[in-house]
């Protein structure tokens, strides 16, 4: 490889590493938290404002992983045990949007009410 592409490659890797570890940009959007405990969501019903981008923090307090999944919201994310995941949703029109914990669908379910 000649010098210029080599340098370009090096800077690309540097930039990517910096981007990868950069913390979330200052969150102007409202934050809501869903807790997973004993394979159930708490709260099972969450109200969020309409037409607003919302940052949903899913706090998995169980000792096993869970997959937050919502067909209505078109979101799916695996949350490892004892950790938190971020799901960005919205802006949403008013209505009810159901979600489940795919690994424990019989008990882990809830609805996000947008109004």
């Amino acid at each position: 490889m000649s010098r210029l592409p080599q340098a370009g490659f090096f800077f690309a890797v540097l930039l990517l590493s910096w981007l990868a570890t950069a913390p979330a940009a200052f969150a102007a959007e409202p934050e809501f938290t869903l807790v997973i405990r004993d394979h159930k969501f708490q709260p099972a019903e969450l109200k969020i404002p309409a037409n607003t981008k919302v940052r949903l923090i899913v706090d998995n307090q169980d000792a096993t992983a869970e997959e937050f999944e919502s067909k209505d919201l078109k979101r799916e994310k695996v949350i490892p045990p004892k950790s938190k995941g971020t799901v960005l949703i919205g802006p949403l029109k008013p209505g009810r949007y159901t979600f489940v914990g795919e690994f424990h669908e019989s008990t882990a379910k809830g609805v996000i009410i947008v109004e």
Partner: protein, 278 residues
């Protein structure tokens, strides 16, 4: 145990379907079985690695690491499938005519096989990492005995693989005249479906806007979780409520692959353009 079976089936049947289609499409390339097996092995290993690193990956890129990771591997898979189709559009007919041709075909076939190894590995890695986390959770919670869990997971895996085998058996029965057209169409649709999936993750990761969402809603006519809906989702990316960005990715990918196939054929097979296009 039934829960484990159902989840493992759901995760494995999509990957099995893809493997079945690719294995059938590359039937004529010598030595392809080793690459298919290699892809499955690499994907399984990768799935375990990704399962272990899930939390770390998720925290990258401001909490959107999982979305970016999924979008990236899907993007690589789309490129590999596109490359495979374009390669096959030139060499497919020759290979079908003489399956044991040696020499240039074999070494070129190697490159095509490397591409499908990567695609298979990616499919197995994506579905497998979720399955690995799910199964590990069941075991460590102690809610299901390990032998029951293994039984349920095995059952689900066998059923999923069964779907792939049925697909394979069905495709290899297609008459020779249509074989290339059918397999390249199936792979083109698979690639477009993966591109649409990639769009979903990029929208979820707030990297791209969704444009209209949803563009249409056919969930009353054909729900996404019905058996036919799930099959169409796996084969061609059926989504009852697609977003505009998903449709853009789908159409652009399908058109680009189709165009690529036509252009390369015309350039490398000078007589091909004058015959009626397939």
């Amino acid at each position: 145990m039934l829960g484990a079976a159902i989840i493992v089936f759901r995760e494995s049947f999509e990957a099995a379907l893809l493997i079945g289609i690719i294995a059938a499409a590359t039937r004529a390339i010598p030595g392809r079985s080793r690459f298919v097996a290699g892809g499955i092995a690499a994907g399984t290993l990768g799935a375990i690695v990704v399962a272990v690193l899930t939390g770390r990956i998720a925290q990258l890129f401001g909490g959107m690491g999982q979305e970016l990771f999924n979008a990236s591997v899907l993007g690589i898979a789309v490129l590999m499938l596109a490359w495979h189709n374009i390669w096959m559009s030139v060499h497919g007919a020759e290979l079908a005519a003489d399956a044991r041709r040696v020499g240039r075909e074999v070494s070129e076939g190697r490159r095509a096989l490397s591409a499908i190894l990567v695609v298979i590995a990616i499919a197995v890695l994506r579905e497998g990492s979720e399955t690995a986390l799910f199964l590990y959770g069941l075991v460590s919670a102690g809610s299901v005995g390990t032998s029951q869990l293994a039984g349920g997971a095995g059952l689900g895996l066998v059923a999923g693989v069964g779907v792939g085998l049925v697909m394979y058996a069905g495709i290899v029965r297609v008459p020779m005249r249509w074989f290339f057209a059918v397999t390249s169409a199936l792979i083109l649709l698979l690639a477009a479906a993966m591109a649409a999936q990639m769009a979903r993750f990029l929208v979820q990761g707030d990297i791209l806007p969704s444009l209209a969402d949803p563009v249409w809603d056919t969930s009353h006519a054909l729900p996404g979780n019905s058996p036919l809906g799930a099959l169409l989702h796996a084969l061609m990316g059926y989504d009852p409520q697609p977003s505009g960005m998903q449709l853009v990715f789908y159409v652009v990918t399908a058109a680009a692959i189709w165009l690529g196939m036509q252009l390369v054929r015309r350039r490398q097979l000078p007589g091909a353009g004058s015959r009626a296009a397939a």
